[in-house]
């Protein structure tokens, strides 16, 4: 019972801050709202029985990626977004309408997907690590380390000043 209440609380928080991310004019406030969204998603992950992923969400997303975003916003001194958009208001309404269509269509499909969840679900850190290093995902795991190395080198090369 209390699980459901806490879930809906965090779901409301996540949806509300997502709307702030999209609606807020100042990118810094959008970034802070995105951090709140990620935090509430982490709580929901915990409620869904995945403590490892919940902790990783905070460590990787809210703790590292968003810090990077904040750094860039502060370094580039990004101001409030105002002035006329080159899009006509009709285009913007169409965008929102299409979003609503997506919501309704995918919503009906997802709502029809009613599957009973099994009771004994163990997604603790040890189990997830075992799955990661299993023969199925080991190659992908090693490949992601190469990916991160490439991203590291690429980011440094792109952001360096030309001397």
């Amino acid at each position: 019972m209390i699980d459901t209440v806490v879930f809906y609380l965090f779901a409301a928080l996540a949806a509300g801050s997502a709307l702030v991310v999209v609606g807020q004019r100042n990118p810094l406030y959008s970034a802070l709202a995105l951090i709140v969204t990620m935090g509430s998603l982490s709580a929901i992950f915990g409620l869904l029985g995945s403590p490892f992923i919940a902790a990783l969400q905070v460590v990787v997303y809210a703790g590292a990626i968003m810090v990077l975003f904040l750094f860039v916003i502060m370094l580039l001194n990004v101001k409030r977004e105002d002035g006329e958009s080159s899009q006509s208001p009709g285009l913007r309404t169409t965008a929102i309408l299409l979003g609503a269509v997506l919501l309704v269509q995918a919503g009906t499909v997802l709502w029809a997907w009613q599957v009973a969840a099994p009771a004994g679900f163990d997604a603790s850190a040890v189990k997830v690590a075992q799955a990661l290093f299993s023969s199925r995902y080991l190659y992908v795991f090693e490949a992601t380390s190469v990916l991160i190395l490439a991203a590291l080198v690429g980011a440094v090369a792109l952001a360096k000043r030309e001397r």
């Binding site: 999209v22 970034a31 929901i44 992923i53 009771a119 991203a151």
Partner: protein, 102 residues
């Protein structure tokens, strides 16, 4: 315990994804568009975890791990690109980067 929450979690994931999509359409600042993309990635993560809970397998959790890794790499490179193009054009308006527009 938490199995009944997986269905509402899926709906939340869809809602967040839609908000992200609409944000990518509507916003003009490159960094905000990038943040909406991150929002979409988070929604997908939530969907993966919810499905993993519903099916009882750990494949969803492993995929979330990989999605996070790729998102981190993409964020680093994407922000470096944003810094580089800001140096050239001194603006972060998406409409200003239209050199390849026909």
């Amino acid at each position: 315990m938490s199995g009944a929450l997986a269905q509402p979690a899926l709906m939340l994931s869809l809602l967040l994804f839609t908000i992200g999509v609409v944000g990518v359409f509507l916003r003009r600042n490159v960094i905000t568009v990038f943040m909406c993309v991150e929002l979409m990635l988070n929604a997908v993560n939530l969907a993966f975890v919810a499905f993993s809970r519903q099916m009882g397998t750990l494949d969803g959790q492993v995929l979330v791990f990989f999605v996070m890794t790729v998102a981190a790499a993409e964020a680093a490179v994407g922000l470096a690109i944003i810094i580089a193009i800001h140096r050239h054009k001194d603006t972060l308006d998406v409409d200003a980067f239209n050199l390849m527009k026909w």
